[in-house]
């Protein structure tokens, strides 16, 4: 298994306690409970484990919500549900690291445009999870496409847009009942055109890329000072505890915006940066070095192929589209082989992301397009390698690889059974399991969720 370098590195960078941040992290705790499931064995499948390996004619046993075993002719507990998966392909549940489901829900009405707090360039205090509408019909469509987990992020209007949340893609009435327990928060940052356009047109800073960088630096300088105040407070409190005569220290004033950024400096939050151009990504790496935080992934990274070696060396993932380009200037240099080239170096971490309610439904097709375009330049990419872009690498960027993202024993039984090779326009998810429970079955309407919003609509499809 790939070492979880992100966590290992970030914890050594700054040894500042973040008392306030830790307290904030426990708020809005997950209430997610896996649905009841019986032991299930998938027999005779082509299995893409998610870690680069493939098993042919293999069995996968799901038990107590976990992957219990992989192999051939597995002995299974009495009463296990047997599924004949001959001619089918089995993969880990797909993970989208960049979704706005719930915060930019369907239908796209003004009342539920809750993804961009465009009131200041740094809004680290806002959390995407507070804008998530669990009845977004897009969740169910994504489930039918094999998505079992996703990170819902704030939009990119701001330099620092707020916290992202990782959800399990289960139908629920509350966000908390979808929240992935134990997943770290993400921080959404944005480079380039969007923040400078949003604020520049208001004659405010940032108006230029210079202003963008000044904005990040000011925010993290403030956060460093804030974290130090809390560290001093922690030291003083400890001292007061030992020495009864000392006056109890006064706690610094709690600041929700700086809580988030202090937690970033402490390595408790995964940093996700919307950044298109190669030169800007290099500047963001320098920013991270200056303040001692770690970047989990550059998102969109249309020019990531220009610095694929740097990204691999820095252990930064590229969360990318298969083929989007040209809709703005910083997307002008897009190429169809971007993902393949980011995947290519030793240690490269390529991720197929969607940023789209349409794209999230067919990440497998996005990856298939990349396989096809790589083929044109003589780069052969096997399915067992490509699946990592949608599973293992995505889980790594979200900091949940120890829980999900591959079909290794002991991990969550987040599993998709495909009607064939998933890297095809004709592929369909037949069944989707989340924590061992059957959440979707293409051939059984009783296992196809419908959101409250779609219920009873006269024009329902």
């Amino acid at each position: 298994m790939r070492p979880i370098l992100i966590c290992a590195l970030s914890s050594t960078l700054l040894a500042l306690p973040a008392i306030a941040a830790a307290a904030a992290g426990e708020a809005f705790a997950s209430t997610y409970q896996p649905l009841a499931s019986s032991a299930t064995v998938l027999r005779h499948a082509t299995v893409l484990i998610g870690n680069g390996q493939r098993l042919d004619n293999a069995d996968v046993l799901l038990r107590d919500g976990k992957i219990a075993a992989l192999g051939t002719q597995l002995q299974v507990p009495d009463g296990s549900l047997e599924i004949d998966a001959r001619d089918k392909w089995v993969t880990p549940g797909l993970i989208d690291v960049h979704s706005h489901l719930g915060v930019y829900a369907s239908p796209g009405v003004t009342a539920s445009a809750d993804g961009n707090e465009m009131s200041a360039p740094v809004t680290a205090q806002v959390w995407a999870e507070h804008g998530v509408w669990p009845q977004d019909p897009g969740f169910a469509k994504a489930l039918a496409g094999g998505i079992t987990s996703m990170q819902v992020l704030p939009g990119s209007a701001n330099l620092i847009g707020g916290r992202g949340v990782t959800l399990k893609n289960v139908p629920a009435t509350t966000m908390q009942a979808m929240k992935f327990a134990g997943a770290p928060h993400g921080l959404k940052m944005a480079c380039g055109e969007n923040p400078k356009r949003v604020y520049g047109t208001r004659m405010q800073s940032p108006m230029t890329r210079m202003g963008n960088m000044a904005g990040y630096r000011a925010a993290f300088s403030e956060a460093r000072e804030y974290a130090e105040q809390w560290a001093d407070y922690a030291k003083a409190t400890a001292k007061a505890g030992k020495d009864k005569k000392t006056e109890p220290a006064k706690a610094p004033k709690r600041d929700l915006r700086l809580d988030t950024l202090a937690a970033v400096l402490n390595g408790e939050i995964q940093v996700h940066i919307h950044c298109y151009r190669a030169d800007e990504m290099a500047n963001m790496i320098a920013l991270a070095d200056e303040f001692g935080f770690k970047i989990a992934a550059f998102h969109h990274g249309v020019e990531a192929y220009k610095i694929a070696d740097v990204l691999a060396k820095e252990h930064i993932c590229g969360a990318l589209w298969a083929d989007w380009w040209g809709f703005k200037m910083e997307a002008y240099d897009g190429i169809e082989e971007n993902i393949a080239l980011v995947d290519r170096p030793e240690g490269g971490c390529a991720i197929v992301h969607s940023d789209s309610a349409e794209g999230i439904q067919r990440l497998n097709q996005e990856a298939a397009k990349v396989i096809g375009s790589a083929q044109r330049v003589g780069i052969a990419i096997a399915p067992e390698r490509a699946i990592r872009w949608l599973t293992e690498n995505a889980a790594r960027a979200l900091g949940v690889l120890e829980h999900t993202g591959t079909l290794e024993a002991g991990k969550m039984a987040d599993v998709v059974v495909w009607n064939g090779n998933p890297f095809s326009v004709y592929a369909k998810a037949d069944q989707v399991f989340i924590d061992g429970a059957l959440l979707y079955d293409r051939n059984d309407p009783a296992h196809q969720p419908t959101s409250d919003f779609m219920l009873g609509q006269e024009a329902s499809p």
């Binding site: 369907s106 239908p107 796209g108 009405v109 019909p137 897009g138 469509k141 055109e193 192929y305 220009k306 694929a308 083929d323 989007w324 380009w325 040209g326 809709f327 703005k328 200037m329 002008y332 240099d333 897009g334 190429i335 169809e336 082989e337 080239l341 309610a357 349409e358 439904q361 067919r362 097709q365 298939a368 397009k369 396989i371 096809g372 375009s373 083929q375 044109r376 330049v377 003589g378 890297f423 095809s424 326009v425 004709y426 592929a427 369909k428 919003f453 779609m454 609509q457 006269e458 024009a459 329902s460 499809p461």
Partner: protein, 428 residues
């Protein structure tokens, strides 16, 4: 490996350019998807002379000196439709200086003068746009240039035309096949007094003015004299492409078209399947987005991946066009058709939706859209099933000319694919 491949490609290009006419070629042993009543011909040859398809059959005699391409059984299709787009009109979507697709006067002129059917987007067409080679790499050979409706503009967006993506300055071959664009729906309500009923009111007024029901120069007229004349032209000939999704609106549009004798094609039609019988009876073709299955607005609550299959089964002519960034992402058109096929549309209808159907609906089927003798030789040789996203175009011919399989994107790719050398990559 890559260097070798590049040499092979260079050799092929050299070979094709050394023959007497660059518009003659004999393609041997292809699986020819004709997109015509002839269906699919296996192991067939296609002979191209003077830019036209001159013969189709087995073991055709090779004229002296002609370039021969052995397809080795690979699929050969007509050049594909790139959808209703702004290819050549929209270089960078977000840059006003590089996007000419919609007329937006905004507050600078009174609302009454914002409806300009005389707006002709083809005058902004740049055949040397970087989007053309990118589209050709995806096997796309023609598009319907669209005039768009944007806030500050009008529901009658203006005119466009079909253009072949050959990059030539000397024209838009199908300039005579003009189309007027009208866009309806809740998202455009601000253009009609914040009500879709207002859109029908304004349309009725504009039509009445064009039919000279109001004396020119009356107060509160919507159209300029040029606009009246442009709109009136569509009563007799040409096509009206109507962007519309909600089933109830589709029925209203059909009624207006029948009353005013307009030749309409629907674009979008997310809820088309709900009124499939009426569309079939009125013989109205539709261009739909085969990936659309979300209720993106209250106009498309009925969106489903089975829209194409259901419409086709009801006898409606179904083709494809993309919502979203239709210009840059035009190469996604094959994926739209592929998904429609994965959701019940017969494969042949999927391919027809990218070829013969749009050519017919847009009035250019006498020249393009199928592989038939006498048609322009706009052809694509594929690595496999053209609707399968892992496959790619190996070669595209436009009027028999083998177009270079290169774009700005492949050059960027090749620049960064090679190992770093002593000089920066900016050097060749």
């Amino acid at each position: 490996m890559n260097r070798i491949m590049r040499r092979v490609i260079a050799f092929v290009l050299l070979a094709t350019s050394s023959v007497a006419s660059a518009q003659d070629v004999l393609i041997r042993n292809a699986t020819v998807h004709t997109a015509s009543t002839a269906g699919t011909l296996r192991g067939s040859d296609v002979l191209v002379q003077g830019g036209l398809i001159s013969a189709i059959g087995n073991a055709l005699a090779a004229p002296a000196g002609i370039a021969i391409v052995d397809a080795n059984g690979a699929p050969l299709t007509p050049g594909l439709f790139a959808g209703v787009s702004g290819i050549g009109v929209e270089e960078v979507s977000a840059e006003p200086s590089a996007n000419d697709g919609a007329l937006v006067f905004g507050a600078t002129v009174p609302q009454a003068a914002q409806m300009r059917p005389e707006f002709d987007v083809t005058l902004a067409y740049n055949p040397r746009s970087s989007l053309l080679p990118v589209a050709r790499m995806g096997g796309l050979s023609f598009t319907q240039l669209a005039a768009g409706s944007a806030l500050g503009g009008s529901i009658i967006a203006g005119q466009g035309a079909v253009v072949r993506l050959d990059g030539r300055f000397d024209g838009i071959p199908f300039a005579e096949q003009r189309a007027l664009f009208i866009n309806l729906g809740g998202n455009l309500a601000p253009l009609s007094g914040n009500s879709r009923a207002g859109a029908y009111m304004l349309l009725a007024q504009a039509i009445a003015e064009a039919r000279s029901a109001a004396p020119a120069g009356s107060v509160n007229t919507l159209l300029t004299p040029a606009g009246r004349s442009a709109l009136a032209g569509y009563f007799a000939r040409g096509r009206v492409l109507v962007g519309v999704d909600r089933a109830a609106d589709i029925l209203r549009v059909i009624a207006i078209a029948q009353r005013e004798k307009l030749n309409i094609v629907l674009v979008g039609a997310a809820e088309g399947w709900l009124v499939a019988a009426q569309l079939a009876a009125a013989k109205v073709p539709v261009l739909i987005d085969g990936l659309e299955n979300l209720p993106g607005s209250f106009d498309s609550l009925g969106a489903t991946l089975e829209n194409a299959a259901r419409l086709h089964a009801a006898g409606v002519a179904v083709g494809f066009s993309q919502r979203g960034d239709a210009s840059h992402n035009a190469r996604k058109m094959r994926q739209l058709a592929g998904n429609a096929v994965a959701n019940g549309l017969p494969w042949e209808a999927g391919l027809a939706g990218l070829t013969a159907m749009p050519a017919k609906a847009l009035g250019v089927s006498h020249r393009i859209g199928s592989i038939e003798v006498g048609k322009l030789a706009d052809l694509v040789l594929w690595s496999g099933d053209p609707l399968e996203v892992t496959n790619s175009a190996r070669q595209i011919w436009l009027a028999g000319k083998a177009m270079p399989m290169q774009s700005r994107q492949t050059q960027l790719r090749d620049r960064y694919l090679r190992a770093a050398g002593p000089l920066p990559r900016a050097y060749p």
